[in-house]
């Protein structure tokens, strides 16, 4: 690997657009606002290796020197193919069959520990990374949906991580966690004079498929009516368990023997025709999903979301239409969309270098793996920093999930990330040799301040501190 590239004062100057911070919600584009001139990152000495490292940073939760070497030997395109053909691996079962009541007692930390360990240790890292993407897109929340249903939902998104959008929209509509989270399970449309619950129908259109303003309020009402009746699956049994060891208090809890989708309660369905996105009739779930897929804004909306997570924080309109075209032509196949995203011109353009901000989970997992902290200790540390860094898995801030990129940066969240690094480095003794870490993790591309601090480092700890606490390591 070549030497270190350092940003020169006001090297390549370019203007940045403020409108990108709206990228997460897919709001109508705003007129770009010039906020100032910024120095660009210098060009990496080995551009191809940096391109492949960028791909790994965006598709995994961390990588080793051997993994980067192997990917470099394969080349960019073969690595893309290998990633999107990632085999599905079923994670360790969180509920042992000998204790079926455990499901009802799963708490948010149980779920986090189970999943974080999976992210750090699974050989199918991109499958975990895509599960994580869908966790933020088709999002639900543990306090409202309960631990068991959230666990099931996570298993579903892993199985469908590279699936087709139509299958996912059908699955999410009858997913027990979502039925609970957005209230469809409680909606009753049997009396046309009474209003159905619109919560799910609105977000299906606004957040899960086509974006705000692409449909009418009448469409929301129609979908709410057509989908009413879907409710959570009935429990297989009820078991009495001790809920408080101190007092010996007992409670009857619902027990499900196996994962299952929601069920249709015919007594709550709407008894007549609706008109949804231009189609009239007795529309069922399949018909509603079909109408959503035939809407011209659905492919660009999902394409844009994928692009701001994997390509660039403010993707160009041409990139969106290219990705959307590939997506639609493939019958909304996630693999085709991802392949188009990674192979797009914009992914490899110089201005896309470090144009994405690592999420807290990506940042923390990558740092813990870099210094070789054992998985169990990494999980403990990461769970402790979820709230302060702004990302509590299974507990999104709201139904729009976590806003990416700029959304991760505030004084409080940046402080928490930095403190994580401080604590991480005092948890590993001895630290591994920092050696080539600057090239492995930062492609040797450094801003002037980081470069000075690294040059002044005299111990391994100082070296790792300057590297992992640097702004460079926050980006991907």
């Amino acid at each position: 690997m070549g030497g270190i590239a350092i940003a020169a004062g006001v090297g390549g100057v370019r203007l940045i657009s403020e409108s990108e911070r709206e990228a997460s919600t897919g709001s109508p584009s705003l007129s770009p606002k010039v906020v100032g001139e910024v120095a660009a990152w210098p060009r990496p000495t080995d551009a191809e290796r940096a391109r492949i490292a960028t791909l790994l940073r965006r598709t995994t939760f961390g990588y080793t020197s051997a993994e980067l070497d192997a990917a470099s030997r394969d080349g960019f395109e073969r690595t893309v193919d290998r990633l999107i053909e990632s085999r599905f691996t079923e994670p360790l079962d969180l509920i042992k069959s000998e204790d079926p009541t455990r499901g009802a007692q799963l708490g948010v930390e149980d779920l986090q520990r189970w999943w974080l360990a999976q992210m750090l240790a699974s050989p199918a890292r991109f499958t975990e990374r895509m599960t994580y993407f869908w966790h933020g897109h088709f999002t639900s929340e543990v306090d409202k949906s309960g631990g068991l249903f959230m666990y099931w939902q996570n298993l579903s998104w892993r199985r469908m991580a590279f699936g087709k959008l139509g299958d996912m929209l059908a699955a999410v509509t009858v997913d027990p966690a979502m039925l609970t989270y957005l209230d469809l399970a409680t909606s009753d449309a049997s009396d046309p004079a009474q209003l159905p619950n619109e919560n799910y129908a609105r977000e299906l259109l606004e957040l899960f498929s086509m974006g705000p303003g692409r449909y009418t309020e009448a469409d929301v009402k129609a979908a709410a009516r057509a989908l009413s009746g879907w409710t959570t699956p009935p429990a297989d049994s009820q078991v009495e368990v001790v809920t408080d060891k101190d007092t010996g208090a007992k409670e009857m809890i619902d027990v499900w023997n196996r994962q299952g989708p929601g069920v249709l309660d015919a007594s709550k369905t709407f008894p007549s025709n609706v008109t949804f996105l231009g189609r009239s009739g007795r529309l069922d779930l399949k018909a509603i999903v079909g109408q959503v897929l035939s809407h011209p804004d659905t492919a660009p909306f999902i394409a844009r979301k994928v692009a701001v997570h994997f390509v660039s924080s403010n993707p160009a309109p041409e990139t969106i239409s290219e990705l959307a075209g590939a997506y639609r032509r493939s019958g909304y196949d996630t693999r085709a969309l991802l392949r188009a995203a990674f192979m797009s011109r914009e992914f490899s353009a110089p201005q896309s270098y470090r144009s994405l901000v690592k999420s807290p989970v990506e940042f923390m997992a990558g740092a813990a793996m870099a210094v070789g902290l054992p998985v169990k200790d990494s999980v403990d540390l990461m769970v402790g920093y979820g709230d302060a860094t702004g990302e509590v898995l299974f507990s999104p801030p709201n139904v729009a999930g976590w806003p990416p990129n700029r959304g991760w940066i505030s004084p409080a969240t940046v402080l928490a990330r930095l403190n994580f690094v401080g604590q991480l480095l005092s948890s590993v003794d001895p630290l591994p040799a920092a050696g080539d870490a600057t090239n492995l993790h930062l492609d040797g591309v450094l801003g002037p301040s980081t470069q000075r601090r690294l040059a002044a480092a005299t111990t391994e700890k100082e070296h790792w501190l300057a590297l992992l606490a640097s702004p460079e390591f926050q980006l991907k």
């Binding site: 004062g9 403020e18 409108s19 911070r21 709206e22 709001s27 705003l30 606002k33 906020v35 100032g36 910024v38 120095a39 990152w41 957005l182 209230d183 409680t186 909606s187 009753d188 449309a189 009474q194 209003l195 159905p196 619950n197 619109e198 919560n199 609105r202 606004e206 705000p212 303003g213 309020e217 009413s228 470090r354 144009s355 709230d387 302060a388 702004g390 709201n398 729009a400 959304g407 940066i409 505030s410 004084p411 409080a412 969240t413 940046v414 402080l415 928490a416 930095l418 403190n419 690094v421 401080g422 005092s426 801003g447 002037p448 301040s449 601090r453 300057a466 606490a469 640097s470 702004p471």
Partner: protein
Amino acid sequence: MTEPNGINRLNRRDFVKAGLVFGAGASALAAGYAAVPDAFARAIYALKRAGGRSDAVLVMIQLAGGNDGLRTVIPLRNSVLHDLRPQLAAASIAKALPMNNDFGLNHNLPRIAKLWDRGKVAVVEGVGYPQPSLSHFESIRVWETGDPSRRQVNGWLGRTISRAYDSYGHPLTGCGCGVSGTPGSLKDVNSTVAVIESQQGFGFVDDDLAATVGAVYHKTPGLYGALFDTAVATVHQTVAELKRVPAVKEGDPTPSYSKDANNQLAAALKLGAQLIIAGTGVRLLHVTLDGFDTHQTELAAHDTLMTYLDEAVGGFYDELSKQGRASNVVIATWSEFGRRPEENSSTGTDHGTAAPLILIGDPVAKGVYGQTPDLKRLDDDGNIKYTVDFRSVYQEILDTHLGVDAKEILGSRFDRIPFLL
């Protein structure tokens, strides 16, 4: 450490007084504030120059998820409400705490009702905006930016900071308390805003880390360089400011305003009160109470939230009042929308539009303002037609309370609603 003019020896309150004298001379103002030594002084200086009132504090409480206005400030004599809400209306009306013949406060707001009796509460009815969005996220953005046309990207309070306070920022002029992300209302590309989730957690875990970070986050290249550098500079300044704030000690008579640990608004406002009392220079505070998206089984959930609001606001006001710091503090609630007047089949309510806002504090002129919307004349979606533009409320806060020209911030003038003394 050099101490030009002895300014660093003064505490903040002294400096406010000194600043008034200092700011009186036009020539001193013309000298420009670059010469003024610290960030706090620059903030005061900039404010004087802009003609603002230096000591006014605003606390915005976001009731996130869309608060049911008809269950917060309850119409007592509206038969239509019973028809629209067979499950939800009767009990709420019977238990309401009467404000006058027509309105009652939710029965879980006894301390706010007491403040009403003492003349410190105003209600503005029917607050909304034209062509309302029923999307949480779009409507939040409208309220945060103060722009229903959705072109503005900066927050209305962020613009206030950058225009009227200080472009380079005393970090605590604007502060999000009890959250980890920067509140949208306070965001502005030219303003620095502190975000403090909790006082205990705010600081570097060790000195090596602080030193490294201090050295590394300078002139960071790239798209996010300035954002990261500013965030870290704000952390350093805020850490220094917070050293002035006595931590919540064991045995503190009011360690929180609520016995319920889930009442995060109580914790956030406790932190806000500490920042105000310690004289950190905080002016525009933003706090959030989440959970108002009551699509189903609304009664129990909304009751709890009303209790949280009452405990937090009651405790906050009492503590400031006891410390002699309440006279210049205005508390204002906001929510992205109200809820649909007609209940749904899950004993809840769906997304609505206009709703009443509550303002509380010594500077508030008691009364019910605006025009109560007609529940017989709803819009095509069955929602309330707004009667007061939300920017009228912002305008009064800016003009009368903060002393900042509202037209500069909001772009035009709106009907005046005189809910401040």
